[in-house]
Subunit: 406 residues, 2 copies
């Protein structure tokens, strides 16, 4: 049995990120309204102010604030020289002693620098009595207060969320340049695996990884171009991957352990790729994870354990982590919590510990979830996970831990 | 001006939830592999054990643990009576003194209760020397350890995530009964609003809410059946909504303030619905939010402010909160943090405070994000929000707050 030369989780993550950085970026245009989840290939610079003109934030009287200062000692009388509906614009410039009635959202007339709320006024014919002194800019949003013309409002590499689409809409930007999603192929291999939706023979179990990893890949913004369940037949597998590496940017292969060969996937990857990035990661669960990169076709190959929970977590820890760093997508959601009890872990190897979170007064407690079988069912009970680094021996009760939320 | 009778945020949330509970639930079948994001209309009960039979978790020798106890005082010799590949099953029952070689994942032969790791054995012809005493069940996953036959593994009302789909696949469940998504219509109304992707006239601003609210509604699992930008023309609006209430379960109407009438939406809703649920919510931003329910057509009407940030937050605080409670979807992600500075708020009214989160040693700091204009751009800088309740006057520096993560 070949002894695995293991890599730390951080090293593995760095290598995956470097490989992702080498994948070809293809640019295309999409309509802003259909750009949710895509990554910007070019920064977005505002070509106009938002709002495009100064606006009132209240119903009331637009005026020069200096005209209201005397109201500290009693009312001030101004002359109403106009009324503006919300979508009306006036060419009139307000002079000292003058005011124009405006609505919430109205264009702020020229010459005015503030708006007196209607509650502090009384009007009679053309006269408006002002009862409160206000400061310049009071109850006004200035042109460009939200977004300034020329400002870089969304950086290149941003994965667009709903709020980002809102910004594009606010700026009237109809389409944006984005990267085509990386193409991924997801393969499960193992003689013990059966397609899930038929009767299974004794000795077989259902293939889960093809489905969970594909769905998770789509969530991570990847395009799944191929999925398949294979027998552990090295020659056949290599033939399939030889073709796939010209089409896919990333190939994920889980399982391959049914022949009892510990270096099965490694042999396959060596046939296909110019460089093995790492072979074994010092983490529990997920140790038999490996990766290679083919320089000619620019393909990242990732070999994951057959165990569905370990495969799923390593997919998150390596590929989702890497994509998150490569693109400025929503950062990982982190909560600091106190671990509820002592947790042991082997030094020399990191542990990915699933936890539930429970509020206890001013504390947030992280409850370790243990499972003998490491089945995927436990993941749906977890709120997140804690990484115990390889240079740390376990956790002490009440110790503060960083929980990465699902 | 009609004085708004305001409702607290909690009261408003309760009323929205009660209304959502009255909406008609329509059931349909979907393939499990296409069920992501749907809500289960029926609990899922396991019809078989996972794994379906006891399995070895290591490569080694299946045996009776009692046979290894003597290994504490030196080696024990057992007789190898078979070898199993990962997908092979044996009818043979292991007797005292016998062992069968198995692989990680192999079926555990009858009579065996544990597996000795190969590292602690040596074999010569049919003899296997055992060097370590092990306990019953060591290195074994029993049938049903992951999921027990008969167990309710997913409750009715669960919104299905990737891990849940993994569970369905593991159980060989090909299709599930889910609720058809609620149908929602999203309308922006305001004379000052223009469609976003053309030149806008002075005095106009671009409509954002139609787009941000629709995209957010889809994220929340709703089906958007209608979106439109309208003028503030009460008769026209009522005509449109009269028709829509027979098709939509939820109608969201934002804006309607361009005529300066504070009770514009309320008048519209009173024409359409049998009951006004609330009119004004004691929260900043989002006060001019109201809701009504039409018993005949079972339609929930929600009127949101025109301000894009306020509209977006109130959509989350009312509809997403309510749907989250109605269905057992992923709970809100919460982080406890220390507020970085004093924050003032008006008592008598809740505040929805946007915050960024920064780690500082063992502390997680929540940095308040202020904006004069309350534009949606600020939301893309926020990591989440803190609700300061209406019966609390502000926050004190270093106070622990609950941050609802985006």
């Amino acid at each position: 049995m070949e002894l695995l030369k293991v890599t730390t989780l951080n090293e593995a993550q760095d290598k995956i990120l470097s490989a992702l950085e080498k994948l070809p970026l293809r640019i295309k245009k999409v309509e802003s309204l259909k750009a949710l989840g895509f990554v910007l290939a070019k920064e977005v610079k505002a070509q106009e102010d938002v709002p495009p003109y100064s606006r009132s934030t209240v119903d009331g009287y637009a005026l020069k604030a200096s005209d209201t200062f005397a109201a500290q000692n009693g009312e001030v009388i101004l002359k109403e020289v106009g009324r503006l509906l919300i979508d009306e614009v006036s060419d009139k410039t307000i002079e000292d002693g003058e005011t124009i009635y405006v609505q919430t959202g109205s264009f702020l007339p020229h010459g005015a620098d503030s708006v007196e709320m209607i509650e502090y006024t009384r009007s009679f014919l053309d006269d408006v009595a002002i009862y409160k002194a206000i400061a310049p800019l009071e109850n006004v949003i200035e042109a460009g207060d939200d977004i300034k013309c020329g400002e870089v409002i969304l950086e290149k590499g941003t994965r667009l969320d709903v709020e980002n689409i809102g910004i594009l809409v606010a700026l009237g930007i109809k389409e944006v340049e984005v990267y085509e999603p990386f193409k991924i192929a997801v393969i499960s291999s193992g003689d013990e695996l059966s397609p899930p939706f038929k009767e299974i023979k004794k000795g077989k179990i259902r293939d889960i990884n093809t489905y969970t990893l594909s769905l998770e890949a789509e969530k991570a913004g990847l395009e799944v171009i191929y999925t398949s369940l294979k027998k552990d037949d090295k020659k056949e597998l290599i033939k399939t991957l030889e073709k796939l590496k010209y089409e896919a940017d990333i190939i994920v292969l889980s399982g391959c352990s049914s022949k009892g060969e510990k270096d099965y996937t490694s042999t396959v990857f060596k046939e296909l790729a110019s460089e093995v990035l790492f072979h074994g990661v010092a983490i529990k669960p997920g140790k038999p994870t490996l990766s290679a990169f083919d320089l000619e076709t620019k393909t990242l190959l990732v070999g994951l354990p057959g165990n569905p929970l370990a495969a799923f977590l390593m997919f998150k820890l390596l590929l989702e982590d890497g994509l998150g760093k490569l693109f400025k997508q929503a950062e990982k959601r982190i909560a600091l919590a106190k671990i509820k009890e002592n947790v042991s872990s082997n030094s020399g190897r990191a542990t990915c510990l699933l936890v539930d979170l429970v509020k206890a007064g001013e504390d947030l407690l992280a409850l370790p979830l243990y499972t003998k079988s490491a089945n995927i069912a436990i993941l749906s009970k977890a709120k997140g996970y804690v990484i115990i680094p390889e240079n740390k021996e376990g956790l002490k009760e009440k110790e503060i831990v960083e929980v990465v939320l699902k």
